[in-house]
């Protein structure tokens, strides 16, 4: 049994699950379950959807427009004559693709700029901070709109449309990673291991990305879950405002909602809008639940059970509070080393940069 337990703990997340209890564990489990389902649906959309993405006919006969739910179309058909269920299923694929592209791109750019800016300092740092703070203060949806206009002129098709959407979201998110990583780098810069690396003759590039980066990156997973949910909402909002992807090349929940609002709602037709909407709610709820429970686990101030801490909790607490050892157990994906602790506390209520735009510019 002990070996099995050990083997289980090698799976990322299982150890984290062990440190949770009661409500937190429930939230983490439900959230992970929803996410698992979402990813499955996105990957196997082709076999799960009853009809093809832009299919309007079956055996030479049109589905019909705005048909209520029936045996042939469990969730009914849209005003454009598509099958609602198929649109919802394919929408998961679009959302997953866009969010993964957007979040990955913003992590790469934001983290790299943050480490460079924090480590090198000087005028480069000042200018970057000023620009990032301005971008950060900009209402995110408006920024995404501006970028979407630039990239696509407002409408685009297929993969290009998805790229445009994810780039718009990337621009919004880069400053968030930048701020957290830069602040963490600033405090990590003066720690002995960096000095040691310098004395040892390591080049700045190696120090930044070989030594500092691994020690400041622990706060990223929490930020990532928070951003992923916002990314899905931003994508849907862009679609709702008319920056959708062509309906024939990809299904996007926000755009489908928008068409439904303008053409179906006044006739009392509910099935074209309610199902894509529920899909958004479900996925965002899943991601948010994961983020919330991660926050709870990592914020020692919020722990209820005094006294009877388990070994896992003590271990986690040591990694969270006990200084920035380079050896963080990798099964605790979101453990926060000491340099990043201040950054992680900022994350705790869903907004990474609570210190306002002036925060980075002292």
């Amino acid at each position: 049994m002990p070996t099995l337990k050990r083997a289980l703990r090698m799976i990322p997340g299982v150890k984290l699950l062990g440190t949770t209890h009661g409500l937190q564990r429930l939230m983490l489990l439900i959230g992970s379950g929803i996410m698992f389902l979402f990813v499955l649906v996105a990957i196997f959309a082709d076999s799960l959807a009853p009809y093809a993405l832009a299919q309007r006919k079956y055996q030479g006969e049109f589905f019909g427009k705005q048909q209520p739910p029936s045996a042939d179309h469990i969730l009914g058909t849209t005003v454009e004559g598509y099958d609602v269920l198929s649109r919802v299923v394919y929408g998961a694929r679009t959302a997953l693709l866009v969010v993964v592209m957007a979040v990955a791109a913003s992590i790469v750019i934001g983290v790299a700029l943050g480490v460079i800016s924090g480590y090198l300092g000087g005028w480069l740092d000042r200018i970057l901070v000023l620009i990032m703070d301005a971008v950060y203060a900009f209402p995110s949806l408006l920024l995404a709109i501006v970028v979407a206009i630039v990239i696509s002129g407002g409408s685009s098709s297929g993969f290009g449309g998805m790229m445009a959407a994810s780039l718009s979201i990337t621009v919004v998110f880069v400053p968030r990673y930048f701020r957290v990583v830069r602040n963490a780098t600033l405090s990590a810069k003066s720690l002995p291991y960096v000095e040691a690396a310098k004395v040892g003759g390591a080049r700045p590039g190696r120090i930044m990305f070989g030594h500092v980066l691994p020690n400041v990156s622990q706060s990223i997973p929490v930020l990532l879950t928070l951003n992923a949910s916002e990314a899905i909402l931003t994508l849907a909002s862009l679609g709702f405002l008319g920056f959708g992807i062509e309906p024939t090349s990809a299904a996007e929940w926000g755009r489908d909602l928008s068409t439904a609002t303008t053409s179906d709602l006044t006739n009392g037709i509910w099935w074209t809008s309610v199902y894509p909407g529920l899909a958004i709610v479900l996925v965002v709820t899943g991601v948010t639940l994961i983020g919330e429970s991660l926050n709870d686990v990592l914020n020692p101030l919020l722990r209820t059970r005094g006294g009877a801490t388990t070994a896992d909790e003590r271990e986690l607490e040591e990694t969270v509070l006990g200084g920035g050892q380079a050896e963080l157990p990798d099964a605790v994906p979101a453990a926060v080393g000491a340099p990043a602790a201040s950054a992680a506390v900022q994350v705790h209520d869903g907004d990474p940069g609570l210190d306002g735009p002036q925060g980075g510019a002292q």
Partner: protein
């Protein structure tokens, strides 16, 4: 004591000075951020009418509008115009963008105020309850509620409200515009045109008008307000929980102060300070929410105007409105920081 106070107020003044000085570069970057990318795609006229006009006509129109000049000249001209409050003219309906911002802005401000009332009414009591009954059923339920209202895009929430209360559901509440046509005309006849409907209605003193305005505001305010309430619940819950662990609260408990009183008298007010800080950041989020809410309910505010111009591909108007909103956000975040510095001495380092 006196010297300490003087140095304190000097620190405050210095902080405010630095903060004020930072507004200008921030605003400049924001304006540039909007201007540059919009010109990367070419000029607004080609963007809008590219396929519809002959090449010659296109060139003529571009020259007439001055888009053939060097980009730097155009940039500085644009900056100068913005400083003078001239954000350009919408080609869709020939309205001055400044007029659009002022008239529709009033509608947006009114909507945001209504929604804030809902958000406070729902968010503060629920946040307090959740913190007081930490990890118990009330807390669990309220947290799920907070996650759910956050996860529901505001336009979907609005849509569901429309379905339930609109003409095809219960049919009890209006689902579009700020006021019914007859009331609007009547108020205009009376000479009230502050663009704040509720102010006009109150000045008329007619209950029929007031109730008409209020009934129109309910659904949009609830849709946007619930989204904001989700944020308030999370903020207040987490701050209150942290405050409830502080030594002075523990001391109050040790003295035998009732838990109810500990929460309301000792912890709650201190827990509100960080909430004020975050409000500054949430202004931007609320504006985004307002854009979507207005589009859903055809509420004639800035967001509705923006989405209409977006649909018409009128990028001059879009650029003007976005610039104006960005400036407003920069100013509001400055004001919030001032309030913070006044409330919380720790801010003035």
């Amino acid at each position: 004591m006196a010297t300490k106070q003087r140095s304190n107020s000097a620190a405050l003044l210095r902080y405010l000075g630095v903060r004020l000085a930072l507004v200008i570069p921030t605003a400049l970057i924001l304006v540039t951020l909007v201007f540059c990318p919009m010109r990367v795609i070419g000029d607004p006229i080609s963007a809008k009418l590219g396929g519809e006009l002959t090449p010659d006509e296109l060139v003529r129109r571009r020259e007439a509008a001055g888009y053939n000049r060097p980009i730097l000249v155009q940039y500085f001209e644009y900056l100068g115009n913005v400083v003078r409050g001239d954000f350009g003219i919408a080609s869709k309906d020939n309205r001055k963008i400044l007029d659009v911002v002022l008239t529709n802005g009033a509608a947006t401000v009114e909507l945001v105020c209504w929604s804030l009332i809902i958000a406070f009414l729902v968010g503060i009591p629920l946040g307090r309850l959740a913190a007081r009954y930490h990890d118990r059923l009330a807390d669990v339920t309220i947290r799920f509620f907070a996650v759910l209202v956050y996860a529901a895009p505001v336009f979907f929430l609005g849509l569901v409200l429309k379905l339930i209360f609109g003409a095809h559901g219960l049919g009890v509440l209006p689902t579009s515009m700020r006021v019914s046509r007859t009331t609007e005309l009547a108020l205009a006849d009376l000479g009230y045109d502050s663009h704040f409907m509720i102010v006009d209605a109150l000045r008329s003193g007619q209950w029929a008008y007031i109730s008409d305005v209020l009934r129109h505001a309910i659904l949009p305010a609830v849709a946007l307000g619930l989204m904001e309430a989700g944020i308030f619940i999370r903020l207040i819950r987490i701050n209150l929980l942290e405050t409830l662990r502080t030594d002075y609260v523990v001391a109050a408990r040790a003295r035998g102060v009732a838990e109810r009183r500990v929460v309301s008298k000792h912890a709650f007010r201190n827990a509100l300070i960080p909430v004020v800080t975050v409000m500054g950041m949430e202004i931007a989020l609320m504006l985004c929410g307002a854009i979507l809410t207005e589009t859903t309910f055809e509420w004639p505010g800035l967001g509705y105007a923006l989405s209409q111009y977006l649909l018409a591909r009128d990028f001059v108007a879009v650029q003007g409105i976005v610039t104006a909103i960005a400036l407003v956000v920069a100013v509001i975040s400055f004001l919030i920081d001032v309030i913070n510095a006044l409330v919380d001495p720790r801010v003035r380092y």
